[in-house]
């Protein structure tokens, strides 16, 4: 019975080809530093999963955001765990992505033929920081609010277009309900979608060119 189902699916999906294409690839001898990329992906998935579940109770409005987060922390079974993982996952993700980037830099893995992999990768790093910045406001507590006031003001000092950037970031002149809902939208739709797409491209490029070998003295 199971075999029949497997054969039926394999005929259509091609498990064997998938196995060859995705898993049974030759690679240069790697070391533990090479695991940071997949660790970043793992953290991205964890953030995605916990983030999706947080939206079950979270409400992005100044009147409710704080109380709904308090409710997640204290009123819902395991809410503290889901939020705790999301909170610490953000910190770890920034750290791991950054160290991953340094590893690639110091082993010069960004050189021919992996230039584009690096460029997509550094975009991923910036997107991760963007996730951190937009996610920080969502609990709408003192820390979040003031950090966002200061953070968006930094965008506002650009000569000429500063006031425009400030208003575009905040959705008006003040940090308000509009800021919260646009940060929410950016945090849960726009950035994750861009991140997921860029991760796909990044992974495709890695598979296409293979993992880089560690540089030796004659490289």
């Amino acid at each position: 019975m199971w075999k029949k189902i497997y054969i039926w699916l394999d005929e259509r999906l091609g498990f064997d080809d998938m196995y060859k294409m995705l898993l049974d690839r030759p690679e240069p001898h790697g070391n533990w530093w090479n695991t940071l990329g997949s660790a970043s992906l793992f953290l991205f998935i964890m953030q995605g999963v916990t983030g999706i579940f947080l939206t079950v109770y979270y409400t992005p409005s100044p009147d409710h955001a704080y109380d709904s987060v308090q409710y997640i922390m204290n009123g819902v079974a395991f809410g503290w765990l889901i939020r705790g993982i999301h909170h610490w996952g953000a910190t770890l993700m920034v750290l791991v992505v950054f160290i991953h980037m340094l590893r690639v830099f110091f082993s010069a893995s960004y050189k021919y033929p992996r230039e584009l992999t690096w460029m997509v990768g550094s975009l991923l790093f910036l997107l991760t920081l963007g996730m951190g910045f937009t996610g920080y406001l969502l609990p709408f507590n003192q820390r979040a609010y003031w950090a966002t006031v200061v953070g968006t003001n930094i965008g506002g000092v650009v000569p000429g277009v500063g006031p425009f950037i400030l208003k575009a970031l905040r959705g008006g002149t003040d940090v308000s309900a509009l800021t919260l809902s646009r940060f929410f939208s950016i945090h849960i739709w726009m950035l994750p979608a861009t991140l997921a797409g860029s991760i796909g491209l990044h992974l495709y490029l890695i598979m296409r060119h293979g993992e880089s070998a560690h540089p030796t003295l004659d490289d």
Binding site: T35, S38, A39, M73, H87, V157, A213, T216
Partner: protein
């Protein structure tokens, strides 16, 4: 880069692959172990450190020190080095250049060598930037003054309890412990004013939470009520006002379903023969019944009751309580006996509004003094065992 070099690089990579490993199972195994370690780390951080509770947004709280998330601290600190008119250089130009430089690194880094010994400039520059970022982050952390901790209520029950504490300090002098109001005694400028009940059905049904919060915040100048909101010169933050309103709503509004985990009495009752302790009973009792006057900045004969030591030894007519002495000032006064101090001034009956505290609370004070005024619950248990 010419085709020759490209070919060489490819050949070398092929050679490396020959001596290499397979993605499955070799690499995946390591990846998995690292991811699993991160997973354990995350669960550990979430379980044992958790998320620091932060107070709700309060635009009137001017003492709050804004700080970004730690990974932006270096940028935050970096901006300190730019005078006002050059701020845009530090905030936009330099980070902008760095970001562009980072993204397009492979396009202008024409050095074909990969080993770090042949890339001294690149490695040196990046190390300098990273060390700089770490330095700025550490410096920002060290120079951040500690944030003043504020009370954060986690549930409606906790809000009610904190609200009652605040009510007992800020509101009781005029509105009484249960909101009945009546004649004000002993409040400067309002002496003798009759205050209408605020716990009535009328009041509770016709004022919603927002309007109660506004009243507490602005006060009612025409009726003599001073503002309590921090924005108008009072002592309370907006969260604290919200706690008071939560307390009022759930205690006095008969339409409100009180949450099951709400504490019905903040002052634990005494069992037969149990010795009360400062820690468990007396501090709670004092907070509700005495502290609104017997704290810093009020007229109270310098008798500050906010600490154990203060209760024992504070005040102009100290000591007000002596272990085992049933004639201690405090016990006499709460039982309605006026006293004359050594310099001949009259000490009023407590509380001064002529409404004595409940008998069970008087009894609690008496039993505490009688047993020798134990501070901790453990001491009290030891005493009741005798």
């Amino acid at each position: 880069m010419n085709d020759e070099t490209k070919k060489k690089i490819k050949e070398k990579y092929e050679a490396a692959l020959q001596k290499g490993e397979r993605f499955w199972p070799d690499s995946i195994y390591k990846d998995l172990l690292v991811s699993f370690a991160l997973f354990i780390l995350l669960i550990g951080l979430a379980s044992f450190i958790g998320v620091h509770p932060e107070p709700k947004v309060d635009l009137t709280d001017t003492s709050y020190i804004p700080r970004p998330e730690w990974y932006f601290l270096f940028l935050f600190e970096f901006l300190k080095y730019f005078p006002g008119n050059l701020e845009w250089v530090g905030a936009a130009v330099i980070p902008g250049i760095l970001v562009v430089a980072l993204i397009f690194l492979p396009l202008y880094d024409k050095n074909p060598s990969r080993h770090y010994s042949k890339r001294k400039f690149a490695v040196g520059l990046m190390s300098f930037i990273v060390v700089g970022m770490v330095f700025l982050t550490i410096k920002a952390t060290l120079t951040t003054p500690p944030q003043e901790e504020s009370l954060v209520a986690n549930s409606i029950a906790e809000k009610m309890s904190l609200g009652q504490d605040l009510y007992s300090i800020q509101c009781v002098e005029c509105h009484g412990p249960d909101g009945y109001g009546g004649e004000v005694v002993g409040v400067e400028g309002l002496e003798g004013t009759i205050i209408k009940p605020i716990n009535s059905q009328d009041e509770m049904y016709t004022r919603n939470d927002d309007s109660l919060m506004s009243i507490i915040s602005y006060g009612q100048p025409n009726l003599g009520m001073v503002p309590f909101g921090g924005a108008y010169g009072g002592e309370l933050s907006s969260s604290e006002i919200e706690y008071i309103v939560t307390f009022m709503r759930y205690t006095w509004d008969d339409r409100a379903e009180v949450p099951a985990d709400a504490v019905t009495s903040a002052i634990p009752a005494l069992a037969e023969g149990e010795v009360p302790s400062y820690e468990v009973h007396i501090s709670a009792l004092v907070k509700r019944q005495c502290l609104s006057c017997h704290r810093e900045g009020k007229e109270n004969n310098n008798y500050l009751m906010d600490t154990y030591a203060g209760i024992l030894s504070g005040g102009n007519s100290a000591p007000n309580v002596v272990a085992g002495d049933m004639n201690s000032n405090l016990l006499q006064l709460i039982q309605g006996h006026e006293l004359t101090s050594s310099d001949g001034t009259l000490i009023h009956v407590m509380p001064p509004n002529g409404k004595p505290i409940k008998d069970e609370y008087i009894d609690m004070f008496i039993r505490w003094v009688e047993a020798g005024m134990p501070e901790t619950a453990a001491e009290a248990t030891a005493l009741s065992g005798e």
